[in-house]
């Protein structure tokens, strides 16, 4: 475990040495997200297609055996040969034999991740075949013997000048470093390959059982040429790609490019059933569809990973993942890169390969929000981390971060002493060594009195309460900033709510982040058991830490198998400003107490706020009451990733700070005087990265407090 961790640390350090590469990648990711956003803005129904995609994938995976049989029968009826390959070796063998039988010399390939998955090129080349990738991005990485950096844009890490140099070297001619010149060279180079290839090999984005057709989506047009020209065509396709109907396929044909590049649909979508003749030469023409299992059937039986089969390979998740943006797809990936790469690698290439990069996920959850199939990627990734840890143990720093609650409890009990220790270089160096907490991070001081103690001594003045609210407080407000907790209480009481503080543990989100799902479930079960009876009697549950609200609403149900109790709690749980806004008409009289000094505030939307609405509820609430607040964002995570950024070393503060650079720069350039954020950990990152004060929005609500 340690050795693997060290290797990953070394890779991250190396990536941190060439920040230009990361910045270029992040620019491309941003371009991808922006185009997606523009496409969705004009798409009828907006984001609604995501639920539809999820429903299609859920039901087709459920009916997989039946659909594989139906697809096979229909494809055969149209003249295709269908071969079921249990694993990569069987698929490779089939193609090799086919090539031999046909006396083939050249195979022209169109982009296919599935053939990358089984690494088919090498054995074909070793057998004496010429194998040429024709997708521009794939061709570039083939020429430099690399692996795809990104699912959809495999050569996204190569800048124009580098690409020109690659072709200049490979083709031994001068290539000017501009895209049109490169295109000319590529077209001329590939043309004879298209025309004379003996075998055309493609993947398929979809298999349609209804008519036995495969669907190939491309923009460049290489997929069309490769599937048309050679007299023999081979398609290697994972069995999870099969849907039942044309209607279902059409939904996916839109969802895929909308999510990755904002197109609707790709320039070419080929619906190919059987193999047609070409002209009237009378030469027999064949198509072979290799249906690949390679671990997919087992995945389907594995509740911890099954949802990954819903992936439609759009690549959107790698357009939003902050740490991927810093280290890139070679470090953050095996063959399948990015967020989805973690569960897929675990399933098809083994746990070890996945373990090599799984710790790069900082559990921000943004990939889940952009995924067109609504895949709960952070939970799948937590499952992979969990399996790795069960086998190999946890890294020291991860253990520390998972004990944050106990740590804070001790810190608070020993407050003056502990706070002095936090300021002391020697003590911090020892903490870095023994606990893995970075020595330079400015940690929030502990409060001697916890929120729980303060609240117990507090008497409510609300007489005829409008609503009853159970406050979910979590670690930070309890042990470090009870004043923020009390400000929330006063605000809710001013609105006419009766506030209760039921028995509770911390949210336990770090257990998900670092992969201890047993303890995550314990925490979830504990809190749900205490909150459910309250929810049932009409009490609302309000959290002031976005991650805590996210746990109550999303993570707990997922952890507890969507039990009735967990759903009852989820339904009545709210982040505080969402709650205030929802009841604004009733709560009107809490207005007027906002900071109206005219000071300019910049708001940071924490990742876990995004799935619970716009994430900007606090901004709306504060603005309505006269505060000058503007949202400043890059659309990704600040890089803190909960407590990830507190860890010492490159796989902690190093990566975290690099990931946060862009956002911090934006804040600094914006000219705001202070930052407002609801997340206590984002606050640490932003304070350090910008030098600006960071406040919780409830502090603006009642500026007299605290």
């Amino acid at each position: 475990m340690t050795e693997r961790y060290e290797r990953l640390c070394a890779a991250v350090s190396k990536a941190l040495e060439t920040p230009e590469r990361g910045t270029a990648l992040q620019r491309c990711m941003q371009r991808g997200r922006d185009s997606r956003g523009r496409a969705i803005a004009v798409l009828p129904g907006g984001e609604a297609f995501r639920a539809e995609v999820k429903a299609i994938k859920d039901r087709c995976i459920e009916r997989q055996d039946e659909l594989v049989a139906k697809f096979t029968a229909c494809a055969q009826a149209r003249g295709a040969h269908v071969y079921f390959a249990e694993n990569g070796a069987a698929a490779i063998d089939y193609v090799l034999q086919l090539a031999r039988k046909r006396g083939a010399a050249t195979i022209a390939k169109s982009k296919s991740l599935t053939t990358e998955e089984i690494e088919i090129n090498d054995p074909l080349i070793e057998a004496g075949l010429r194998v040429i990738e024709t997708d521009l991005g794939e061709l570039i990485i083939q020429l430099v013997h690399e692996r795809p950096y990104h699912l959809v844009f495999p050569a996204v890490h190569k800048l124009t000048a580098e690409v020109a140099a690659i072709f200049a070297k490979a083709l031994d001619k001068e290539v000017s470093p501009d895209i049109p010149s490169i295109m000319k060279v590529v077209r001329a180079y590939l043309r004879p390959i298209f025309l004379d290839a003996d075998i055309g090999m493609t993947g398929a984005n979809i298999g349609v059982a209804e008519n036995g057709s495969i669907v190939i989506e491309t923009n460049e047009g290489n997929g069309r040429l490769v599937s048309t020209i050679g007299n023999c065509h081979v398609c290697v396709m994972g069995i999870e790609k099969i849907v039942d109907t044309i209607d279902e396929a059409l939904t996916l044909v839109l969802a895929h490019p909308v999510s990755s590049s904002g197109q609707l649909p790709t320039t070419y979508v080929t619906w190919m059933a059987g193999r047609a003749d070409m002209g009237d030469a009378g030469v027999p023409r064949e198509t072979h569809i290799v249906l690949l299992d390679n671990g997919r059937k087992a995945m389907r039986q594995d509740p911890g990973l099954r949802e990954a089969l819903n992936c439609i390979r759009c690549g959107a998740c790698m357009n939003i993942c902050t740490t991927y943006g810093v280290v890139g797809g070679h470090t953050f990936g095996h063959i399948y890169p990015g967020p989805i790469g973690i569960p897929w690698t675990a399933a098809v290439h083994g746990l070890d390969k996945a373990a090599a990069f799984a710790p790069l996920c900082i559990s921000c959850g943004l990939c889940k929000e952009i995924c067109p199939a609504e895949i709960d990627l952070p939970m799948l990734i937590a499952e992979v981390k969990h399996r790795v840890a069960k086998r190999d143990g946890y890294h020291r720093a991860d253990r520390t971060m998972m004990s944050a609650e106990r740590f804070a409890q001790t810190g608070s009990t020993l407050a003056p002493f502990a706070n002095r220790a936090l300021q002391n270089r020697t003590a911090r160096r020892i903490m870095a060594k023994t606990l893995g907490i970075d020595a330079d991070r400015v940690l929030p001081a502990f409060s001697r009195k916890t929120f729980k103690q303060l609240f117990t001594g507090h008497t409510s003045s609300v007489e005829n309460p409008l609503r009853k609210v159970a406050l979910f407080i979590d670690v930070y407000a309890n042990f470090n900033r009870p004043d923020i907790g009390m400000a929330a209480v006063e605000c809710l009481e001013a609105a006419g709510c009766e506030v209760l503080l039921p028995e509770q543990h911390a949210s336990g989100y770090p257990y998900i982040g670092y992969g201890d799902l047993d303890r995550a479930r314990e925490a979830a079960a504990f809190n749900v058991a205490r909150l459910a009876p309250l929810a049932r009697t009409g009490c609302d549950i309000v959290a002031i830490e976005p991650t805590a609200a996210y746990c109550l609403r999303h993570a707990y149900p997922a952890l507890l198998g969507h039990s009735r109790k967990s759903l009852e709690v989820a339904e009545r749980s709210f982040e505080i400003f969402r709650y205030l806004l929802d009841h604004e008409p009733e709560f009107e009289h809490v207005g007027g107490k906002t900071d109206r000094s005219g000071r300019r505030y910049g708001f940071h939307v924490s990742c876990h706020q995004r799935p619970m609405g716009s994430g900007r509820e606090a901004v709306e609430w504060l603005r309505h009451r006269g505060a000058r607040v503007e949202v400043i964002e890059t659309g990704t995570c600040c890089g803190m990733g909960g407590t990830f950024g507190l860890k010492a070393g490159p796989l902690g503060q190093g990566l975290s700070k690099a990931a946060g650079l862009g956002l911090c720069k934006k804040f600094k350039e914006s000219g705001v005087e202070a930052i407002v954020s609801e997340s206590s950990v984002c606050a640490i990152q932003l304070r350090e990265g910008t030098g600006l004060p960071v406040l919780h929005p409830v502090e603006l609500l009642l500026p007299a407090q605290g």
């Binding site: 048309t228 044309i246 070419y268």
Partner: protein, 195 residues
Amino acid sequence: MNDTALESFTKRYESLGGHVHAAGNVESAAQAVLEIVRERSGTRVAMAGLEEHLAAAFGRVLAESGVEVLREPFASIKLPHGIDECQVGITGAAFGIAQSGTLAEVATNDAVRLVSGLPRAHIGVVKASEIVERFEDAAPRLRAIFNEHSGACTVSFISGPSRTGDIELILTMGVHGPEAAYVIVLDDAERRVPQ
């Protein structure tokens, strides 16, 4: 189809970098073809998957202007190389989709796909009455096509010229497929509205 479908098809297809010509009748469609072929300095043109009367009209106009015209079943040339030597390929489309600016081309012989895939310019011909509005409206059309052709059959959706974003995600036209894409929308209204 109604005017708005044609309008939104045109808008969408042009936003993808393609060009749309509305033709009131076969003769003006043939004139539009000729203009495009001239614009592309075409001396050799391949046609496939067109209704016979269209192919005949286009062939006549092109031949009169000295353009060599290759027609199915392409017995006189070597496939696929002969098609690659054409500057322009013309194919018929079964229907169009306004929402996405898409043509749907049907091939039960793959020479059709060569004609729309190999030359640097492609002209697709679709009847105005065959343009459906929304993407999902394509489902019944596709189903009918695959039912009609129970053997090998390929439907190609084509939405504008070939493009790539593989270098730095910067949009660039014309990699392997046509760099120029034209659609001729043939107004067949007179068939629908009897005088």
